[in-house]
């Protein structure tokens, strides 16, 4: 653990910008994040509420080409994508957002190693920030995290007056700060463990989901759901994608990987016209079950970091935590 002066931290950032790194910081009261060109644009604020969109698009963009192709009368020529080697450094990620990176990296590195994800993830350094924000939608403490969880972060910052406390948590983090160690003052600080007051028994929730696949409950909690993909697209852990080919000139085209959402009616629509998830209740069940059961069954992790974005932004105010609470109460 180290202490660093805020202005020294800024110097490091400017240096990193100069050496060609992509620095991502928050703006607009934490609603957005963007690439910055100077440390003056930095805003490190532990009271920001989670940004409207999550940080996942840094490693999993809303749309990206997989390859390009060119057709001739009797042949098809493919061109692969060259990956960008630029480093991306995210500054001030909330614990719930930082954790999401490591969560989804599991699915992208399960049997198939997804280079489109990995090439970006490997070049991304996440500097987490202790969070002091909590509203009625936050529930990170219920999914095994806390406001000071460091999971997923390469470096973690805590604010302390004019200084930052810095935790170096990974090789990536270490390598990044290596040239700047002179700014850092080593300090031992008693790390305080957050009081976590859980009300949800996740085992019980999983069991109930397993046993109640066809329960009318799914209909009753999703009746107002409009079937948009907003919750999935702003979620830091939702990672479904669709693959489409785009023909853009007479002979040429490309294959695209785009965000997709299980709440869309078309998501499971078969070519035959049959749709196994034909009503919204089944789609909503999938959302809950994937996050709290299927992903856990497979990867021993929840596909939810409790950021509360989906509830905060839902057009019809469906609160995912309320749903979990209801299941828990059964």
């Amino acid at each position: 653990m180290y202490r660093i002066k805020k202005q020294d931290f800024s110097k490091i950032i400017d240096e990193l910008i100069k050496t060609g790194n992509r620095i991502i910081s928050y703006s607009n009261n934490g609603n957005d994040f963007k690439r910055i060109n100077s440390s003056n644009e930095l805003s490190i604020n532990s009271n920001f509420k989670p940004s409207k969109l999550s940080l996942k698009e840094i490693v999993f963009p809303k749309t990206e080409p997989l390859f390009y192709y060119k057709r001739t009368n009797d042949n098809v020529e493919l061109k692969d994508i060259k990956f960008d080697s630029e480093k991306t450094i995210i500054i001030g990620a909330k614990p719930c957002d930082a954790k999401a990176f490591s969560t989804i990296s599991k699915v992208f590195n399960w049997d198939y190693k997804d280079n489109f994800f990995n090439s970006k993830y490997e070049n991304t350094i996440i500097i987490g920030l202790k969070c002091d924000y909590k509203d009625e939608y936050c529930f990170c403490n219920e999914v095994g995290l806390s406001q000071s969880s460091k999971e997923g972060s390469d470096i973690f910052i805590e604010l302390d007056g004019d200084d930052y406390f810095i935790y170096i948590l990974s090789e990536k983090g270490k390598n990044l700060l290596q040239p700047f160690m002179s700014y850092l003052i080593e300090e031992i600080k008693e790390s305080k463990v957050d009081d976590i007051d859980n009300i949800i028994d996740l085992n019980k929730v999983r069991t109930w989901i397993t046993d109640n696949f066809d329960n009318n409950f799914w209909y009753s909690i999703s009746q107002e759901c409009l079937g948009c993909g907003k919750c999935a697209f702003i979620c830091p852990t939702c990672h479904c994608f669709d693959i489409v080919d785009e023909n853009y000139t007479y002979f040429e085209g490309r294959r695209m990987k785009n965000w997709d959402a299980c709440q869309f009616g078309k998501f499971t629509l078969h070519a035959s016209g049959h749709n196994p998830r034909d009503i919204q209740a089944k789609r909503y069940r999938q959302r809950i079950a994937h996050k709290f059961k299927y992903y856990f069954d497979k990867f021993d992790e929840l596909l939810c970091t409790g950021c509360g974005r989906c509830s905060r932004e839902c057009p019809v105010s469906i609160n995912i935590f309320d749903v979990i609470k209801e299941i828990n109460a059964k």
Partner: protein, 667 residues
């Protein structure tokens, strides 16, 4: 898909401006093209044989001929490919002559354009479907609406060819306006003498079902398969019992209803036959004046009728007739100039005093005065005092050719009938003077000009070129103030009687009828033909034909010619058992149709219907649009209007047009 491309030089026509060999080489690179060659004259026999051989040799699925406009040779090439077993709709034309080589000079650019046009055609043909013409069964039976001379002619022609005809007439008798006329121009034949035999022939024809005093209420279906609901208005006289003895009409005590046939110049009884030669000769009771209907008393007609034919309890009845073709022959009406029509921009001719001065009359009234069977037994007498008028002024173009006060069109027949009227007057009143105010004399027609000259030269009718500004009464005379524009002087004539050649207008219910049938009409209410030159008797709705003055002002020979033409169109239809129609029509994707029916709103042919979709258990799921293949003409407006593209036009599908645009893509 295996596509063949054939680039035609058309001699020098294309070859001079477009590098055809290069176009063929470039076309060969298009995915799917297996053979691409150029040729001097592709439409020639050797050229066509080349295509036919290539189809066989390369087992082609589609052919693109890059040549002249598809309007020139599309049929030729489609026929050629069909002769070797390829579906004709798998042949497309790239128009590199009219729209490329003939309009450009730069060889390089014209060649590039030609290649693009070929690409468009190749991409389209790859997505073409093998189509077969749609076959619709034909009900060989016709409906004729309107029993004037046009309707009579059409009905007789079709019936004489051996097909059944239903003839619907809204008045109690057939005959129409022609039965009101005294003599006809240019021969001065007696109108009734030539018409009445035709009326009787209709009545007695075994193939003609005559429904008088009836109106078309509803038309469903499409060409070859119409279902028409006809309303029979109550006559209150049983047609099966009445012998037409006429006793009831003589005894009826109510004698003050205006006689429509005599243009209101005399009165008739409450139970009446419109005119002595009426067909059918069966009276009808006018329930608005009949004492029984007004007070429940009288029943004089019941008392005198030996056949017990009077039936006060008759109600409206509806009959449904199935027919394959409809001929609309509803005729015209005369512009009533005394009243300004409600909500009409037409200003009217109040200054002529029609409707105020009894001796200012219209053309049809004069016809009745001149008719031997008319109210004056053919003697010309003023309606006001029954005196013989010694000076009569005829005014032409009252309401016609007058945008500011009437209609911009020419009523066409007035020049001729005015000449006839003046002539008839002079023949009957030898010492009388006849004046005609005219704008131009339009006497196109066999013996027409000679007829007008005869009126002027032999019968001394005085023609004054000019308009009349005002007519007013002064001591029993009508002072007609006008202008002689040739002499350039004002004219004033103290006439005893004035006859106005008022404009011919559409029947006042023509728009309603057009909407019932689903055919278009112009702003005046005349029914529209689909093409003014080449398809003058067809409406835009297949199977509905037009005859006579319902389409525009027509004289008798024209009406009869149109009527026979319309009849022959119906007979062409009846000539085959099944009707073949272009298969390029719209089709609905029922699974994605949301049933907003915007397609129905934009369809000009009423081709879109509501269809109920049920699930396996018979439960209602939703309404979707359904395209009636018998009615759809393939314009594709529905396709462009549908927000979800759930209706597509076969032959011009979204996929095809997308591919055509894509064929031009550059980045």
């Amino acid at each position: 898909m295996k596509i063949g491309v054939f680039v035609c030089h058309c001699g020098e026509n294309i070859g001079k401006t477009v590098d055809c060999p290069r176009a063929a080489q470039e076309s060969a690179k298009i995915p799917g093209v297996v053979i691409s060659v150029d040729n001097k004259y592709t439409c020639s026999d050797p050229g066509q044989n080349m295509i036919k051989n290539a189809i066989k040799e390369y087992n082609l699925d589609g052919v693109v001929v890059a040549s002249c406009s598809p309007h020139m040779h599309e049929k030729t090439f489609r026929k050629a490919v069909a002769s070797v077993g390829m579906n004709p709709y798998m042949c497309e034309i790239a128009n590199i002559r009219e729209q490329c080589s003939w309009v450009h000079d730069d060889v390089e650019e014209a060649t590039k354009k030609a290649i693009d046009l070929i690409r468009i055609a190749v991409e389209k043909v790859k997505r073409n479907f093998a189509l077969t013409p749609i076959k619709v069964p034909v009900t060989k039976r016709a409906l004729v609406i309107g029993g004037g001379i046009s309707g009579i002619q059409s009905a007789l022609d079709i019936a004489n060819a051996g097909y059944e005809v239903v003839l619907v007439e809204k008045e109690p008798s057939i005959g129409g306006h022609m039965s009101q006329l005294s003599e006809t121009f240019p021969t001065l034949d007696c109108s009734q003498c030539i018409l009445t035999p035709r009326m009787v022939e209709v009545y007695q024809h075994p193939k003609i079902k005559l429904l008088t005093y009836s109106e078309v209420e509803k038309v469903e279906g499409f060409i070859g398969n119409f279902k028409v609901t006809i309303k029979k208005k109550p006559r209150y006289v049983d047609e099966t019992k009445c012998t037409g003895c006429g006793l009831c009409t003589q005894k009826c005590p109510i004698k003050k209803a205006p006689n429509e046939f005599e243009q209101g110049m005399i009165k008739r009884t409450a139970i009446y036959v419109p005119f002595p030669q009426a067909v059918p000769n069966i009276p009808v009771i006018d329930n608005t004046v009949c004492t029984y209907f007004r007070t429940g008393k009288c029943q004089m007609c019941v008392k005198v009728c030996g056949k017990e034919a009077i039936d006060f309890n008759q109600k409206e009845r509806f009959v449904v007739e199935e027919v394959g073709a409809i001929i609309v022959a509803t005729g015209y009406s005369l512009y009533k100039i005394d009243k300004k029509p409600k909500d009409s921009p037409i200003k009217g001719y109040g200054e002529y005093g029609y409707g105020i001065y009894p001796d200012v009359i219209d053309g049809l009234q004069f016809e009745r005065l001149a008719s031997a069977s008319g109210p004056t037994a053919g003697e010309i007498k003023r309606p006001s005092d029954k005196k013989e008028p010694k000076k009569v002024v005829f005014i032409q173009c009252v309401g016609s050719r007058d945008e500011s006060k009437g209609f911009s069109y020419c009523s066409k027949i007035c020049c001729m009938y005015t000449a006839k009227h003046a002539m008839l007057y002079k023949h009957k009143v030898h010492d009388g003077e006849a004046y005609v105010f005219y704008m131009d004399i339009r006497s196109g027609g066999k013996m027409y000009e000679e007829f007008v000259r005869r009126a002027i030269e032999e019968d001394d009718v005085k023609y004054i070129r000019g308009r009349v500004s005002r007519i007013y009464e002064d001591g029993g005379k009508y002072i007609v103030k006008g202008e002689d524009t040739i002499a350039g002087i004002p004219v004033e004539i103290d006439a005893d009687m004035v006859v106005l050649a008022t404009a011919i207008v559409a029947q006042n219910d023509s728009k309603k009828l057009a909407q019932t049938i689903g055919i278009p009409y112009d702003k005046y209410g005349f029914l529209n033909e689909v093409h003014p030159k080449l398809r003058p008797v067809e409406s835009s709705t297949a199977g509905v034909y037009l005859a006579g003055a319902c389409q525009a002002p027509r004289d008798i020979p024209e009406s009869v010619a149109m009527a026979s033409a319309a009849a022959s169109k119906a007979l062409v239809l009846f000539g085959s058992d099944m009707l073949e129609r272009e298969p390029t029509i719209a089709k609905v994707n029922e699974s994605t149709c949301a049933g907003c029916f915007y397609c129905q709103k934009v369809c000009a042919y009423n081709a879109i219907e509501k269809k109920e979709i049920k699930d396996r258990n018979g439960n209602f799921v939703k309404y979707v649009a359904y395209v009636n293949p018998g009615l759809c003409q393939g314009c594709g407006t529905c396709n462009a209007t549908c927000p979800s593209k759930s209706v597509e036009l076969i032959g011009y599908t979204d996929e095809q047009i997308f591919a055509e645009i894509n064929a031009l893509a550059t980045l």
